[in-house]
Subunit: 425 residues, 2 copies
């Protein structure tokens, strides 16, 4: 029965039962964490052989005859560029392989836009008040980068097909102070949805008022499928070739959730004009990335097929955790009108919308009972969810047994917060 | 006999002999490189056991109980911070260990000054025309970073005690648009000299007109001694504590020329205010450095004594190369008035001042004869040596046999260019 259809008396009774359950669970004194999208220890163990790839008797030469131990090769190892080229759907010569963090490359790209910008345009820092579009719920660290550089963040609602493209088109075509948009196009963080073909085509066909408008296309979960029917993402880069917008997208990926989060390899890909600007930046910033770690990755994965095979091993570990979360949501919350959620085919998150005005309360109740969740509001610009409704659940890190305990508590808290809310009206 | 004391006829004869030698050497069709400060293959081989430190059965935990494979630990591994703390002479808690490139950390620090700056001051990018001091001859990549960000570069002459401190003090105390100075205080690039105690004390005692004046103290060669009588550098950080200028120095070091240039570990150290500003920057830029590579380094070197022992192995390989270069300079050029040079106790370079107006010609003659040198002028801001005199010789990369050939050619070219110059008068 929907909570909203209950009488005050019925609701009070439900609430009392929930409170009892909650108190009992809280008394267990648990310490569980579903806050951040971290791979589990089991997942990290999948890549341990990576550490055997290089030893003191290894060949240190890349295919180009360069000693990978020494300085140089700002674009990264050709073999690693090939793998990312296939992951990202961009020609190898348009791929730059960097250090261990794609967030670092995104930050540096935005920083480069701020201080230097693009031919024929002032640097962003000299253009006065500028804005960035933030499809929400979205990834807090993306939004934070543009906030750090003083931009105004504009919330774009997320639909089941991706960002609300009517709104994106209207804003972007009219306002030259809008400089870009953050996108996680496949298995988006936190919704887990993949942008529809139409959405991708509409992105490629944008006619921005700002000549230096950029799409930050963070394809973080491009090979992170969890089902036999994975989502298919249309290739934005190819679509932009057709529309003549090849300098609009800047594409990112990494092996952080393929090999090791702390010691993986990151890459970016873009059209010629962006690369000229960013390669100049790089030429002053560094004498080259860690090519030995790239060499390790090349030897371990060999090619894109090796990456895909490896991702099946991750799937074996992660899919049961997603299923656990979804099982609890379905069993405990269906038909009560207290929450809706996504059922993604991949990625790292399940997004739960609890009753409006209840997200903070749910996160707080969970915390008191020993379950840490991503802060309520974190998935919106400035950490402010206008409906106080969205909660990002990250199932990958805890073992299934802990996840079951955490989800039991979570579902009780979602219901308890809803009952409290309705009774307070 | 000094060339300047020769008659035209004598000089013409000398020149003809040199030209003959040059043509014979050129006919050998050599391909030699003394351009950049790259470790040789032999030196890289010294650190190969570093690659055995981690394998698939290794313990992945740091002393703090953190899994080094996963996200986190923006300041780097405590054990690695300890080693750098001792290399740099700054408390471990004031050390941040980063990725593989100290140049990258310097660039990011300057970039952070440009876009954000310091409490109570506007970001540098909003302060209009700003300037940076460049002790010259110096390191081209340093100067290039500040040039990239649009600053005016001011040449400060290098004396045998370090930068001309009379000039530094006068400029810095009067001009608030001067935001900092680049320093390689020990075995400076390219002179190989170490700043005197008085120079360091005068740096610590500066009273800059700009509240946000910073000393970029790149201690790149802090443990890179080549003789039994190594230079001693006074600790600027400790001196700045005494003068109350603790927020002035920003100190950098790396293992690029200790372990691997392409896969080493870099670090910076600074006082509290700089760290607050830069840690905020880092918190948006990345979720942490490559801690596995740091762990490898900790296991390989163990502590500062391990680093010092390792540097003796480098010395065994490099010292004979420096001696080779110096032997040729002494034997071929002494008493002719065509060149002067430094005889460093460490570092990576020997600096040669050829006859005024001859450096470009020498580099060009060498190139035609198959010897690549650092471009003439590269050691000055904007690549312009006002006297066209300084040439940086980098002895480390070629084997001794090649170095001998290269130096034979170099010495002929230095003399030939001088003879040409004097005859053209």
């Amino acid at each position: 029965m929907q909570y909203t259809e209950m009488s005050k008396q019925e609701l009070s009774q439900v609430k009392a039962e929930l409170q009892k359950k909650y108190d009992d669970l809280k008394a267990l004194g648990l310490n569980l964490n579903m806050a951040r999208g971290k791979p589990s220890v089991d997942q990290l163990d999948l890549s341990m052989k990576l550490l055997d790839m290089l030893n003191s008797s290894s060949d240190m030469m890349s295919s180009t005859g360069m000693d990978c131990r020494n300085y140089g090769m700002a674009d990264g190892l050709p073999e690693m560029r090939d793998i990312f080229s296939q992951m990202m759907g961009v020609e190898p010569e348009n791929v730059i392989v960097g250090g261990n963090s794609s967030l670092n490359m995104m930050f540096d790209f935005i920083s480069c836009c701020m201080t230097h910008g693009f031919p024929g345009c002032e640097p962003w820092a000299k253009q006065g008040h500028i804005k960035f579009l933030c499809p929400s719920p979205g990834y807090d660290r993306h939004f934070a980068v543009t906030e750090y550089f003083g931009m105004e963040l504009i919330t774009i609602p997320m639909l089941s097909t991706g960002p609300d493209m009517d709104m994106v088109e209207e804003l972007v075509s009219q306002d030259a102070s809008i400089k870009g948009i953050w996108c996680v196009p496949k298995y988006s963080n936190p919704l887990g949805i993949t942008y529809s073909d139409e959405t991708v085509r509409r992105f490629a066909a944008l006619k921005p008022a700002a000549k230096d408008f950029r799409i930050m296309w963070d394809n973080a979960y491009c090979v992170h499928d969890l089902t036999d029917t994975p989502d298919q993402l249309l290739n934005l880069y190819e679509e932009c070739k057709k529309t003549g917008n090849i300098d609009m997208p800047v594409i990112f990926a990494s092996t952080s959730k393929i090999s090791f989060p702390g010691a993986g390899v990151a890459a970016m890909a873009a059209g010629p004009s962006n690369l000229i600007v960013f390669r100049e930046h790089l030429s002053f910033q560094t004498i080259g990335p860690d090519k030995l770690n790239q060499l390790r990755h090349v030897m371990f994965f060999k090619n894109i097929d090796g990456v895909r095979e490896h991702m099946k091993l991750h799937r074996n570990l992660i899919a049961p955790k997603f299923e656990t979360v979804l099982r609890y949501l379905r069993t405990e919350l269906t038909g009560k009108g207290v929450a809706s959620w996504t059922e993604p085919n991949g990625g790292y998150f399940i997004s739960v919308d609890v009753m409006e005005g209840c997200a903070k309360r749910v996160v707080s109740l969970c915390k008191e009972a020993g379950v840490v969740l991503t802060g309520a509001g974190a998935t919106y610009p400035y950490g402010k969810d206008p409906k106080d409704s969205n909660i990002r659940v990250a199932p990958t890190y805890p073992p299934v047994s802990e996840l079951e305990q955490a989800m039991e508590i979570f579902c009780v808290c979602v219901q308890l917060a809803a009952a409290e809310k309705l009774l307070a009206k």
